[in-house]
Assembly symmetry: D3
Homo-oligomer: 143 residues x 6
C-alpha cells in the first residue's frame, strides 16, 4: 500500500466508463425492458453504485475512501450499452479505482442480465476517463 499519510486532503473526482457491445436484438429487448431477468439498466446502475463503495475490499492495495457521491449512468447506443461511473470524495488519495470498479461491475451486471439471449456479448472497453485532485492534477482522456 502506498502510505498516503503525508498527503493533503483534497477534493477527488474520478470518472470511468465501460462499453458492453450488444447485438441489435438484445438492444431492442433492453430498450423495451423485456429482458426476462428484469430491468437491465436499473439493476446495473445499482450494482455499480454498490460495487464502487466496496472497491477497497476488491483491489488489494486500494485505500478505503469516504465516498460522497457515486453516480452510474447507462446509455443505449447503436452497438451496445455505455456505462459511466463518476465518484467524488474528500480524501488523501484518488478515487480512480472506485470509479473503475463501479463501471466494471455495472457492465458485468449488464452481461448477467442479457447472457441468456446473447452469451457472446463482450465488454470492449473499461477505462478511466477523468480524474482530478491531488498532486498529479487533472487527467482527461482525449476523445
Amino acid at each position: 500500500m502506498v502510505d498516503v499519510g503525508a498527503k493533503a486532503v483534497t477534493r477527488r473526482e474520478a470518472a470511468a466508463s465501460a462499453f458492453v457491445k450488444l447485438g441489435p436484438g438484445t438492444l431492442r429487448l433492453v430498450r423495451a425492458n423485456r429482458i426476462a431477468k428484469g430491468d437491465v439498466l436499473n439493476t446495473a446502475r445499482l450494482a455499480g453504485i454498490q460495487a464502487a463503495k466496496r472497491a477497497h475490499e476488491l483491489i488489494p492495495l486500494a485505500h478505503p475512501i469516504p465516498l460522497e457521491n457515486v453516480a452510474v449512468d447507462l446509455d443505449i447506443e447503436k452497438t451496445g450499452l455505455r456505462v459511466r461511473c463518476r465518484v467524488s470524495a474528500e480524501a488523501k488519495t484518488g478515487a480512480e479505482m472506485e470509479a473503475l470498479t463501479g463501471a466494471a461491475v455495472a457492465a458485468l451486471t449488464v452481461y448477467d442480465m442479457v447472457k441468456a439471449v446473447e452469451r457472446k456479448a463482450e465488454i470492449v472497453r473499461l477505462r478511466l476517463d477523468y480524474k482530478s485532485g491531488g498532486k498529479s492534477g487533472v487527467f482527461r482522456r482525449r476523445a
Copy 2:
C-alpha cells in the same frame, strides 16, 4: 433471480479473459518486477481469485455457488497483459459470472498497480471464453 431449484446439479466450468493494453515501458517494468507498488502479476492473480469467490455479492441476481476451483493466470504479451480466469463447481447454475468477475478484478488490479506510470492504460476486452455444464451445453468462443 432465476429460480434454479428444478435444475440438475452438474459439473459447471467457465473461463473468461480480459486484456489490459499497456505501453512497452510499462510492460518492461512489469516483466522486471520493478513496478513500485509491488508484484503486479501475483497481486492481480490473488485479487482475481478472491473476487471470483464474491461474485454473488457483487452481481445482484447471481446465485451463491460452491466453487471448487478458481485459477487466474496472467501472461505478458506484446501489447499488454492477458488475464484468464477459470472456475469450476458442481452446481445448479453456471459459473460464468464468477469467471468474469475474477478476470475483471484481476485486470482492475493490474491497472491499480501500473496507474502511476501509465494512467491512460485501458482494459480493451473482458468476455466469456468458455462455459460447460447445464442444459445450454458447451459454449466456446471462436478465435
Copy 3:
C-alpha cells in the same frame, strides 16, 4: 450455532413480509416514480435480494445456505407498501432468516428512498409468513 450435521437435506422454502406505512402523498410519488432518490420499488427489490444472500453474515448463529431462489415483490397498497420475500434452497436447515432479512432490508431501503419526504414513516410489521421443509414441517401464518 445449532449443529445441523445430522439433519437431512430437504427442500426448504420460506416467505416473509414487511409493511411500510406511508402517507398518501408519499404513495402518490412512489406510484408515479417521482421520488427524487430514484425508483423505490426496484431499488428495494434488489436490496432485498442481495441482503437475503448475506443473511448468514448478519445473523450471528445462522448457517450459510445455498439459496436457489430469492424473490422480492413490492405492492402499493392503500396505506403503504407491502414487501414480500420468498426464498428456497436444498439445505439441512431452514431459510427463515434469509426471507426475513430480505424483507427487512427491502423495507429499510424503501424508508431510505422516501425519508426525505416522510421522515416519520414506519415499518409496522416484519414477520415470517410461511415455512416448509425439515422436521418441523409446514408453518403457515393465519390471515
Copy 4:
C-alpha cells in the same frame, strides 16, 4: 446517491427502535437466559452493532459513514423485547439508516434465537425515533 460533497460536516446522531412481540412463555425463557440457542440479549446486541457498521453495504444508496458510536440496548417489556439503537458520527450526511439497520438486525437476531419456541413471533414496529445534525435539524418522534 445524493451527492453530499457540498454539505457541511456536522455532528450526526440518530436513534431507531424495534419491538419484537413475544408471548409470556418466551419472555420467561429470555429473562431466565434459558433459550437453547444462547444468550438472546447479548447476541442481538452484538449483531445490531455489527450491522450498523455495514449499513452502507446493505442500503444501496447509503453513504459510508465513519461511525463514532453504536449502542444497542434491549429491554424486556410486558409483551415483548424493545430494541433501541443509537449511533453518532461527524459526517456530511445523516446516520438514520445506520440506526435503523442496527435495530432491524438486532430484532431479527432475537427472532432467530427464539423461533424454535415461538415461530410466529413478529416485529411489530421498526422506526426512526430521533435524528439530529445537518440542515434538516432535529427530528424527534412524539410519544
Copy 5:
C-alpha cells in the same frame, strides 16, 4: 487454489485453539464480568463463530465451505483464556482454516475487550488441534 473437483464429499471436522495470556488482575475482571467494554467471553465467542463463516473471504486460497456447525468455547485458566473453535461440514475440502480463523478472531476479540486494562497481553498460541475427513485422514495433536 487447489482444484478439489475430483475429491469426494466427506464429513469434515476440525478443531483449533488459541491461548490469550492474561495477568491475574485482568482475569479477575473477566471472571467477574466487570470489563468496561462488555462481556468478554460472549463477545469473543460470537466474533469467532462469525469469522469462521467468513474464512474463505480472508484466506485467499481457501474454498467456500457449507459449515454445518461452528462452536467456540472460552475457558478461564490460571494464566489466561483458552479459546477453542470446532467446525464441521460435508465438503470436498477440509475445514482447518475455518476453525483456525474462528479461534484467531475470538482471541483477537478478547484482546480488544481487555486492552484498556492490559495492553501488553499476548496470544501465545494459535494452532490446529484436530482434523478428520478426506484422504489425509485424522490429525490429532499430541498433548
Copy 6:
C-alpha cells in the same frame, strides 16, 4: 462500543507481529518458493493487508478507521516466519486491532499455504508491539 465522539483526531500508528514456527524442511521450501500452493510470502502479505482493512467487520466493538497505510512484512528466520504488520491513520481511536488482524490473517495464510507439508505448524505469538497517538500515549513492547 466505546463512544469516541469526544476524542481528538490524532495521528495513530500501531504495529503487531506474529511468529509462525516452521520446521527446517518447510522453511527451505518457502525460501525456494517451491510450496505447491504458491508464493507464501506474497500471498500472506496481501491477505494481511486486506484483512487489516476489514478489522472493524471482524472485531465486534471496533470502529471503522480510515487507514492511510498498511504494511505487512514477512521475514524468514531460523525457526519460522516472522510477520509484522504496521498501520497508520488519522483517527479518533487507535488502530491496534487493525495491525493485529493484519498480522493474524497473514500468519493464518502462511499456515494455509504450508499445511500440506507441515500440518502441525503453530503460530506461537501474536501481539501488539507498538502503538502511538491518542491520550494513552506511546506503547512500545520491551524486547
